[in-house]
């Protein structure tokens, strides 16, 4: 492959938009993913991304702005999941599974029953660079700024709540509100990332960069920026691969992350594997 072939896609507006969104969305997912991984919320991230598909389908069929509809739906799902995980009336993983997969199934059924032939469900499910618009660029940049602002302004509180929620609550921190804020940021991140990653693969974009970062560092602040960089790298490289291999963007971004994970596993040796094992068992 020549250099000309490598840089050719940069001439296209749709690719420029897709590349910016994939890179920024990757960074966003990497940043939020640190909290997702350290709080053992991987399953929540996975479930929430599926739940949002229900809102996407309903709003697409109803002719409502998809981001607005899916956003409201996602926020409601996030608050429901947050409430379930806090109160634990039944096993929280089971409750999350019921809430989120039911929402996903509802979205699929609604699209089939509602005659959603002109709705690009594949793009929502697996990501599609062609579906990325200028609006998506502004959305993902806005959500990223919001996420960075939340993390900077609430850095110590979020760290305390992530590490030791019981003592954080006893120290006077509003743990329920901080949890809800984090779920709101997570839902907004999923929403902003949906077009590029697809709802079925967003969980990997949330988890993989943070896990790779955890394997190579034992510092929380280092993990935050490193995971953000890894996520951006995966988005940038994955989007380019998506164009050249003619494969949906979601899978290529996730596969770049998987390769990085294997590389980190090999490079970090036993220390990385031990850290990884501990993250997995939290």
């Amino acid at each position: 492959m020549t250099v000309d072939e490598l840089v050719r896609p940069f001439e296209f507006q749709f690719f420029q938009n897709g590349l910016v969104v994939a890179t920024v969305a990757g960074a966003l997912c990497g940043l939020i993913g640190v909290y997702v991984v350290l709080r053992s919320m991987s399953y929540i991230g996975h479930g929430l991304s599926h739940a949002i598909f229900g809102g996407f389908a309903v709003s697409a069929l109803a002719g409502v702005n998809v981001f607005l509809g899916a956003g409201v739906w996602g926020l409601a799902s996030a608050l429901a999941v947050s409430s379930v995980t806090r109160r634990r009336p039944i096993g929280s993983d089971a409750a999350i599974g019921v809430i989120t997969t039911a929402s996903f199934a509802f979205g699929l059924a609604a699209l089939q029953l509602g005659g959603g032939a002109d709705v690009d469900a594949d793009a929502a499910l697996f990501g599609n660079v062609l579906g990325v618009t200028r609006g998506d660029v502004w959305l993902v940049c806005g959500v990223t700024l919001f996420a960075v602002a939340v993390i900077v302004l609430r850095y110590r509180s979020l760290l305390f709540v992530t590490f030791d929620p019981e003592v954080a609550a006893a120290s006077g921190l509003p743990v329920a509100r901080l949890d809800a804020l984090l779920m709101l940021v997570l839902a907004a991140s999923i929403l902003a990332t949906m077009n590029v990653m697809g709802v079925t693969l967003i969980a990997a974009a949330l988890v993989v960069p943070a896990v790779v970062a955890r394997m190579v560092t034992s510092s929380f602040s280092t993990m935050l920026w490193l995971s953000t960089l890894i996520g951006a790298f995966c988005g940038f490289v994955g989007m380019n691969l998506s164009y050249h291999l003619d494969v949906a963007s979601g899978p290529t971004i996730v596969l770049v992350g998987a390769v990085l994970f294997l590389a980190a596993l090999a490079v970090s040796g036993r220390t990385g594997r031990v850290r990884l094992g501990r993250v997995a068992t939290h």
């Binding site: 110590r156 992530t162 590490f163 030791d164 003592v167 006893a170 501990r278």
Partner: protein, 266 residues
Amino acid sequence: MRSVGRDPLLALRDIRVDYGEGDVLADVDLRVAADDFVGVVGPSGSGKSTLLRVLLGSVTPSGGEVQRAPGVRVGYVPQVETIDWDFPVSVSQCVLMARPPARVRPWPSRDEKAAVARVLDRLGIGALAHRHIRALSGGQQQRVFLARALLAEPDLLLLDEPTSGVDVRTRHEILHLLGELHDDGLAIVLTTHDLNGIAAHLPRLVCLNGRVVGAGSPAEVLVPDVLETAYGSPMEVLEHGGMRVVVDRAPDARIIPLPRGEGRSA
């Protein structure tokens, strides 16, 4: 830290806690004054940690009344077994969490760094500030969480099993350290399984088994009647060097005689 007074920092009246499967605690009364150093003893599942959480405020009782002195600050040192030692934080980052940020920037101010250094130095772990929390001995790990609690300048310190899993020397060091903090005016309530190594050395004990079975000095609480009621097992209490020594006398336990010259004094 508060001056010693008659009014309690915390008072529990007729406390009942029910997690949905029967009472974990019932009819519990406890007053903690500014000059108190209280040990809560009892078998596993007797409600010791729950009582501590009621004092902390993280568990809301199903019944009864909790009275707190206005503005009272409570520090808490959790059981080491409940802590995620692989969480990516250093000693100083862990300690700093307890202090509400003085400004919006995520990194600590010079004053905050100085406050952390002071409390770490006081506890003898100043040189470990940049270590990861896992890369410490059991006693050092306990001191890190003690430092985190002290950084918030509490009036009352609650410790859940502060000596579990540590060796005898570390246990002595922790007990000595807590004694110094109490002498400096800090009220302390701790739970312990260790009747001989910890409880017997404290000025005041509360013996629990779902309810208060006994309360008072070690001489009043470490007696066979109270202990057998709490633990449901025959206990013998010996005197050794002015200290109480509790011996488990299970019906099927065999006493192996010591070699000549190593007899016990009773």
